[in-house]
Subunit: 143 residues, 4 copies
């Protein structure tokens, strides 16, 4: 079943090398200001315990958070933000299925934003969470 | 020039799906108790700024730290540790070349370890750093 | 107006040296599993910017979190938990009035708990937040 | 034995309400760019376990870090920096004696600095460590 255009328009795939490598999908179409990032877990995402690798969980949380920062500027979700610092809590293991990271803007000012994110499995269990500091890329560095 | 056997014996490649996907190499042969993990950066590791993706930097720091935990038990570097929490500071961007994460045991007890790690480029610049809490996997969970 | 007995019974004051020094009040009577800790800001709590000192904000968040851990065991709020790691985000400054930290249990197992906390002013503004790892003190260390 | 003048000139006491309350001393006279902050532990600094309260340990690490930021600008150690985020690892308990926090500049740019700090007891044991993001207060906010 094809996605409705307004929904599909909010999905970002294969934008970067890392995104193609890991295979996650960014969703900026939630309409609630929260960036989302999901991944269908495959064997290539597992650590030596057969569970989702912490670095990949961190990547999903980081992407959802950065996208949330972008959405605070405009609806494209593409305004660039840099991650200054990210703390990730690895709360429960997961070895298969889809996981979705959802960001939430907690505060900040013109340049720095505080953004939290949570990674849930489809059954609603909290897998990991993060809290981070993000910085809007200054305009002079974009030219 | 081939690596000396004792050195090559300390390298761990393609042990897990995530390791094969990202392409990093784990080195437990330093002889100093510090786990290492390196990556030759390619286009598949870059974010939308054309720089090493933060999630991949976090994965390298996480692996070097967990390996350092393992090395505190025995020289195989394979005793399993779980990451409880990891804080990553993204200090400088890098877009190409080799980066190496090196872990360092800071303290802890029977079950929990505090491990820091630093990610440097070959020119010696500090790219990112982390501080984390790691937990030895209880023996009853390994059977 | 006097507090209802059940409410007053949930307040803990001057239990420790640090609590008396700083002057915060712990409230375990919320009935929702969330430990709380409040402080009426005075000049003795301010930093060189004339704002609530970050260390004191961290102390309030830490106490609310540890109390939340205790409340996950029993309603006394006094079962001892140690702080393993705490990440604090300093979101907005505040120079006067009452601030209240509220903890929330995010996950964990028999020994380790993941607990977040938020510090709000009476007007409802988010002043600071934290995410931390807490460890139940083993029974053998309490005798 | 009196301190040498150049040394005593580097000590900052009772500068703020929080400093007087807690009783720590800031030392900007190390000459190595590292801010220091020490405290002689008394009963007023203890938690319910009879050990140094985590919030006070965090305050010492925070102060040593912020002072290190100031020292990166000039030798007065008084240029104001705000703490954006601070992660503290509570590595070992301590119940008496002097503890000293020492900051170390890890990187950063014009506005944001990454600063680590370690808290040691006089016997040299690592009690706690921190990693944080600090922001130089913009000049327009100082007038």
């Amino acid at each position: 079943m094809p996605l409705a255009p307004s929904k599909a328009a909010g999905l970002i795939k294969d934008e970067t090398g890392a995104q193609s490598l890991i295979g996650y999908v960014v969703d900026v179409g939630g309409g609630d200001g929260c960036g989302r990032c999901w991944l269908d877990i495959g064997p290539q995402h597992l650590n030596r315990h057969g569970m989702l690798h912490g670095g990949i969980a961190a990547a999903l949380l980081d992407n959802a958070s950065g996208t949330t920062g972008s959405l605070s500027v405009d609806a494209s979700g593409k305004v660039p933000f840099l991650t200054v610092s990210l703390t990730t809590q690895f709360i429960a293991p997961i070895g298969a299925g889809r996981v979705t990271a959802t960001g939430r803007l907690m505060g900040g000012g013109r340049s720095l934003l505080y953004i939290d994110a949570q990674l849930h499995c489809d059954a609603g269990r909290l897998i990991a969470s993060s809290t981070g500091v993000f910085k809007k890329v200054p305009a002079e560095r974009l030219t």
